[in-house]
Structures are given as structure tokens and as C-alpha cells.
Subunit: 340 residues, 3 copies
């Protein structure tokens, strides 16, 4: 498409004199680039908001700003997105991808996960860029498969797969320093369960930071009280199940897999299903299943200590959506293609 | 549907006087519930028989009765089924599921596998119920995928996946006591290979019990001599291959994965293919492949000591059925949708 | 089909006298068998050439002859193919399979991988034969799925899966002796990177032998200079990335996973895509992704030390081909069905 624009720009300029042709073209091109950049920034912001089932460029911009609290993580996330955008441009796959959130937020999350694990270096920058491109390719192909054959959204499944691959490969890579999160990000003296809730909200964006969590919680509350309550109750319910089954509440509020509870509840309780008691029951069941699968995944990766990431949320949500879609359930709210 | 019935019941009763209305409705509802319960019990019995490619409510009832020899296992199996039925009722997914064996026997097997591994407790009851629901959801979705795209039956694949997930998660759960099988269930002084055969037959229902095995063997013999001989010869052939390749016959007759030999032979030798020498050759090949894959799966899970379950049987049967279906083989006996 | 030929042969002979009937039929059958054998040998040769994106019976015959340098490996490969052919004959699945390279080279590679790992013995012969049959079944089914739903070729994916299964199972099998490669096959005193390149070329056929590598390099050069240069540059680029990321070049030239660099580049740079600068950039990106995924797979299997095989090549090529196919990219050169 950019070639076309460039050609048409050249076409118009053929009428002007040769003297100022080059200069004008440059001005035109610069304007085009600025417009593209603005378009890209807006698209990334909107995609960031979609991760949490929110909408709006402003919301996403606020979330991205909150990431400035841990700038190295944010930089790696942006490297992932930019690598994916550059790949799309070079291979001319399409420009419509800017409209599709998952094609941007999966590379973003893949990059963020590299920044979450490793300090910036040549090796980690390479990892973030490669992860971004791989996440882009996988999102495009997987979302096509899931939508064509099952009418399902892709969610963040590509990011989970890519993140694990990168993490596994990183065991062999020299020059990677593990990232250290400042202690103050973890605790500011609030009650442990509350801090656990806030950290988990931040961790959805790979920032297990109480302050980031507060921003996220506020955004949820401002957007809809139902979403906020779903997040609170699902975290409480999931942690309760986890504590009872594992026999101790000592680790429950520090478990990164708890973000699956919140995401499952937001997806089923208020996004893909119409809000209703039955939807909330399904969301509660989804939280229970996510607790079980989260432990299973964590044991599966025990030898290499890989994080669970959002796999339980993805599996549970896709399975239940597919089942409800098959039986033509009256609670299904929206067509998956219009959603993260 | 139950709402509809209830509404129509109410509709009829509007004509009666207000005095006896409540009483009559209650009687009607109780009758409905009893009818539902009988229908459910019959469906579960039929589904139980289907696990072993048998037919009939009576056969299934006999198999379920045999489970009374280890009541705690049986209870967990029923918890799995009841959780699945409750889930189907609450989410109103359908009532037709009672006609489809896999939707009942996969939750049953998932529950039985929990009872096979753990003693009854709050945690294990939660596991059995969650496993039942997960198996139900997975059976529904996976059977739809396999049938729509590949014209294949779902067999017990969902149970295998769910059972592994539950078993993995159980490593983290406190309050689970490993089940202890009484010694007399394992040996009654018969020759080792014969006892191995009988235990393996029982193990198909998670009851590695010589007496249960005798009941199963008798049922097979009464149903068809071919099925009985297929079970005997496939067990002998599979154990022979295993013994030769592993270099010792010391463990062969205690290997739980041997149930795959019997199930593959029953599926290929007499159920999905027409009985013929060529089918028996395919069944023998299937047994050899199942022996290989069984060892592979067992090594894959070596670190966490997960059981092989019925994965080799599922993989080999589905692969060969798909291949024969693709070439339009004349031996293919029946449409997969009418089978377990 | 053979039955038909046999019947028609019998039909013709009914006219001759009874005395010489048996004799003549035998002569006829022998001729048929010789013709079949020649047809089979030619098909296997052509399939062998296809592994490296070459064409021609002569090229394949030369490659198979080069395997005589390590005859035990070659024998196991042929056992794999013959078992697959025998299986196809007995189950009468089709005779058209001789025209389809992947149906022959996947069993060949599966057999070769057994010969590469283990010395000839009863157990290893059983493994090679079973692996060949399993690879045949898996190639048939998987190629149908990939082509029907995604218009993708099957490449050597079945071989990878089968080889891992066999290797896992082999941990439990007695009587397997690990194969020892003679030292002279590994080094003849050339510079280390050059020897690494040649060994890697040989390793594509499970013969990490400098001399075999020279034959392969010559065949590539004779076939097309572009292919030869793609092989050289992709090996150099992939090894460079690997060396930089792992922090040392000490092991890079001994890494068996390096064959993925060459195969990805040959597939994307000159076979499935039209030769062009953009294709070469995509090939370079594919090499980088293969380097990352190769390390990931190798860590995944670290506990059991399974080789990476050609999985990264298969994954990267299929993903990128699917993406380019979805967007209808102008670089896509050929229909996948006509290719390995």
C-alpha cells in the first residue's frame, strides 16, 4: 500500500516543476510518515487496552504510561511490537493488521515477557524482536485457523507459546542477566491479599507493581463496576480454592498464575457472555478450572521453572466459548471476530 | 426442556383448585424426577458397557456392580458423572447428551482415575467433580471437532487429557492420600500371566482386581467368542513383544499400559472393522504400535511418573481408522458417530 | 491392483494348455515383480532427492550410494521404507503412494534415524520397521489434513514425531547398542567451520560424514548455484547467530540442529518462494527463527537428550508459508502438493 501511495504522490508531482519536486516529495513523505506513526501509536494503545477487555486509545495510553515505572520492561515490549510492524511492512503482508488488536498485543506481550525476565542487552533485544515477529506470525495464522474452523478468537494464545519458546531457548543464551524488580514495587505495606490483588492486576502487563495495579484497578472501576467486581471476586474465589487445595495461604497471594482467575472472569462474566447470574456461575466454574489447570501447567514446567502465563485462561475460555457456541447458547454476547 | 415440562405441568394445573395445586405439582415433579433419574441410571450403565465395546444396560449394570468391590473408586467415578450432569443441567447445554456414550463414560473414567489414585477427601472430591466437568466439556468439543473434520469418534481421548491434568495438579495439592489397593485384589494364586490378563481387564475400569477381571472376561465371552479371543491373543501378543524388547518378562504382567493392547484389538478386530483375517492383521499391527507408543509415553512422563492411560490405544486406533477412511477401505464396518 | 493384474494374467492363460499354465504364470509373475521392484527403487531414489529439494532418480541414487559409507545406517533406512511398502501392500491402501515423495522419504528418514542411533540387532530392526510403518501412516493422514485444511505440504514433520517416539521408547528397550561413528568420518583436517558445514549437509541424511557432505554439496552446486549459495550463507548466518547468542563458537560447528538453517533457506529461498531479494530476507529471518526454536526444542528435551531433528525447519517453513498463502503473496512459487 505504501508503494501505491508513493506512486500516486509521485504521479501528482509530475505536474510540478523539476526544481522543487524532490523537496515537495520529501515533505509529503514526512507528513505521511508522521500520519503513519500517529496511526500506529493509536493502534498500539487501543490494543493494550484490549488485553484487559477495555476499549479506547486513552485507556491504553494510560496503561502504557504506567509501564514507565519499569522502563526496561516497557522498552522491550515496544521492541517486540516494532519488530512485528517492521516485519509486516517488509513482507507486505497487509496494513489492515493495525485494526486487529491481537496482532499487536501478542507481540507486545511477547516483548514485555522478555523484559520481565531479562535486563536489556544485545541478546535480550534480539530475543524481544524475534519473539515479536514470531508472535505476529503465530497470531495471524492461529487466529485464522481458530476463526475459520471454530469461530473462536485467538486471545493471547500465541504470546503464551512464543514466550515459552523464548524462555526455553534463553537457558542456552549467554549474556542474559535476570531482571531484578525493586522491592518497593512489591509491597507498600497494605494488607497482603490486597497487595496480591494489585500486583496480579499489574502482572497482566508484566509489571507486578502495586502502583501499576492501582492504575489498572481504577481503569476497571471507571469503565464498569461489574468488571471491577468480577476482578475482585474472581481473585478472591480463585485464591480461596488454591489455598484450600494446596493446604496453605502462604504462597497464594504471590502466585503469578492468579492473573488467570481475573482474565477468565472478565472474559466470561462480562465480555463474551451477557451479564447474568448464569454467566457469573460459568465464570466461577471457569475460575475453578483455571486453578486446576494452572497447577497442572506449573508442575509440567517444574523442571525448567517456566511461568504458567495465561494458558489456563486461554484454554478454559476457548473451551467454554466453543461449547456454548456449539449448542447455540442464548448467553453468547458477541461475535468473536470483534474481540481480543 | 425441564422448564418447558414444568411450564406445561403448571399450565394443566391452572384448571384445578388452588387448594390441591401445590400438592399435585409436587407429585408430578417427583414423578418427573424419578423418571429422569431412571433415565440417567440407564444411560450411565449403557455408557459403561460401551467402554469395552459391549452393548446393553444390563451389561453396564453388572460392570458397575462389580465396582462395588472397591467402593471408594466407584463413588469417585459417580461423582465425576454427576458433576458433569449437573453442569449440563445448569448451563442448559442439551439433554440429548444422555444418548451419547462418550459424554458419560469420559467423565466416569476421569472420576474413576481420581478414585484410583487418591482416597476420598474434600480435595479428592473436588478433583473428581472438576475432572468430570472438564471431561464433559472436552468430550463435547473434541468429539465435534473429530467428527466434523475427520469423521472420527472421540474414544476416550478427553479422559486421558483430563486425567493427566488432574494428576499433574495433584502434586501441589495437600490433603490427598494415595489409595492403597488391598493385596488380595492383586493375586489369588493363579498363574502370573493369567492374573496379569485379568487385572488388566479390570484396570480398564480402574479396578486392577482379579475378580473384576473375571466378570469382565465372562461378559466378553458371553457377548462374542471373537471378542474374548481378541482380548486373550492381543494381551499375549503385546506382552510377548514387550518382554522381548525390554529384555525381561518380570514386569510385563504388571504393566498397566497393557490395557491398550486389548482395547486396540477390540476396536480394530471386531468393532470398527469387519471381522476378517486382514482386520486381525491390522489389529496385531495396532498392538505392536501400541507397545511402542506405550513405552514412549511412559518415558515422556518418567519424571512425574504419570500413568500411560489409554493414549496409545486412542492414537493408534484414530490414525488407522483415518487412514482406512481416507482410502475408502472395504473393511470399515460402521460410521464412527454410532460408536464410543 | 495387484490382484487385478494377477486375475487378468490368469484370464489370459486360461486359453493356453493346462500343462504349461503354471510355468507361464510364474514367468509372468516374476516379470511383474521385477517391474514392481524397479518402479519401487526408482521411486525411493526420487524421494531421497526430494529431501534436499533436488529432483531426479539419478541424484537420489547417488545420495543412496553415498550412504554405503555407513552401511548399517543405510540398511535401517531401507528396512523402514520396505516395512512401509509392505504395510501399504498388505492393507491395500493404494499404489499411487509411490508417486508421492513424502510417503517414502518419511519412512526412510525414520529408519535412518534408528540406524543413526543404534547398531543393527533384532530390537533395532523391529524399531526401524515399526518406525517406517508409523511414519507412513502419519505422513498419509497428516499430509491429508495439512493439505485439505491449510493447503500446506507435510515436509518431514511425521518423521520428526515418529523419531522422537521411537527414541523415547528405546530408553526401555534392552539389546540396543548405541551406534559409534568412526572418527575419520568426522574430521579430515579441513578448517573446522568447513567441516562443520559438510557434516551438517551429510547429517540431513543421518550421515554426519565429511565425505557424504562433499557429495551433497556437489549435487547442490551442480543443480543450481543459488541453492549452493543458500546452503553456504544460511549455515554461516545461523552459526553466527548461534555463536553470538550462546557466547561461544566452540560448539556451534558440532551442533546437529544446524541442518535446520540449510533446510529453511533452501525451502524459502529457492523452492516455495520465487528467488528474489525479498525471499532471501524471509529466508534469513527463517534462519534466525530456526536458531531460536532449535535451542528451545533442545532445552525441552534436555532431560532425555533427544535430538532436535528437523522440527524448527518444519515449524518455521509451515508458519511462513501459511502466512504468505493467507495474504496471497506474489512470491509464492508453487502449489504445495507438488513438493516435499
Amino acid at each position: 500500500m505504501w508503494n501505491v501511495l508513493y506512486q500516486s504522490a509521485l504521479g501528482r508531482l509530475k505536474l510540478t516543476t523539476l526544481n522543487n519536486q524532490k523537496q515537495t516529495t520529501q515533505g509529503w513523505t514526512t507528513m505521511q510518515w508522521l500520519r503513519t506513526l500517529r496511526h500506529l501509536v493509536r493502534a498500539v494503545c487501543a490494543a493494550t487496552a484490549e488485553i484487559l477487555f477495555l476499549r479506547g486509545v486513552g485507556v491504553g495510553a494510560l496503561l502504557l504510561s504506567a509501564m514507565l515505572l519499569q522502563p526496561s520492561v516497557m522498552v522491550m515490549g515496544l521492541v517486540g511490537v516494532l519488530a512485528a510492524v517492521a516485519f509486516a511492512r517488509v513482507t507486505q503482508v497487509d496494513v489492515m493488521y493495525l485494526e486487529r488488536g491481537p496482532l499487536l498485543f501478542n507481540p507486545l506481550l511477547a516483548g514485555l515477557s522478555v523484559g520481565y525476565l531479562f535486563q536489556p542487552s544485545v541478546a535480550s533485544l534480539f530475543l524481544a524482536a524475534t519473539a515479536g515477529i514470531l508472535a505476529f506470525v503465530l497470531t495471524w495464522t492461529l487466529s485464522h485457523v481458530l476463526y475459520t474452523f471454530f469461530l473462536l478468537p485467538v486471545l493471547s494464545l500465541p504470546f503464551v507459546v512464543v514466550s515459552w519458546s523464548v524462555h526455553l531457548a534463553a537457558f542456552r543464551f549467554a549474556g542474559l542477566q535476570h531482571a531484578v524488580v525493586p522491592a518497593y514495587a512489591y509491597s507498600i505495606g497494605l494488607p497482603v491479599p490486597l497487595e496480591g490483588f494489585l500486583r496480579t492486576l499489574g502482572l497482566i502487563f508484566f509489571l507486578p507493581n502495586v502502583w501499576v495495579g492501582m492504575v489498572v484497578a481504577l481503569l476497571l472501576l471507571l469503565n464498569s463496576r461489574i468488571q471491577f467486581l468480577l476482578a475482585v471476586f474472581s481473585y478472591a474465589f480463585g485464591s480461596f480454592i488454591q489455598g484450600i487445595l494446596t493446604g496453605t495461604f502462604a504462597y497464594v497471594y504471590y502466585d503469578p498464575a492468579a492473573l488467570n482467575f481475573i482474565l477468565v472472569a472478565l472474559a466470561l462474566g462480562g465480555y463474551y457472555l451477557l451479564p447474568s447470574p448464569q454467566s457469573y456461575m460459568l465464570a466461577a466454574l471457569g475460575v475453578a478450572l483455571a486453578a486446576l489447570l494452572g497447577q497442572a501447567v506449573s508442575v509440567f514446567w517444574a523442571a525448567v521453572a517456566l511461568p504458567v502465563h495465561a494458558l489456563p485462561y486461554n484454554l478454559v475460555t476457548l473451551l467454554l466459548l466453543y461449547l456454548l457456541g456449539l449448542v447455540g447458547h442464548q448467553l453468547l454476547a458477541r461475535y468473536p471476530q470483534s474481540s481480543p
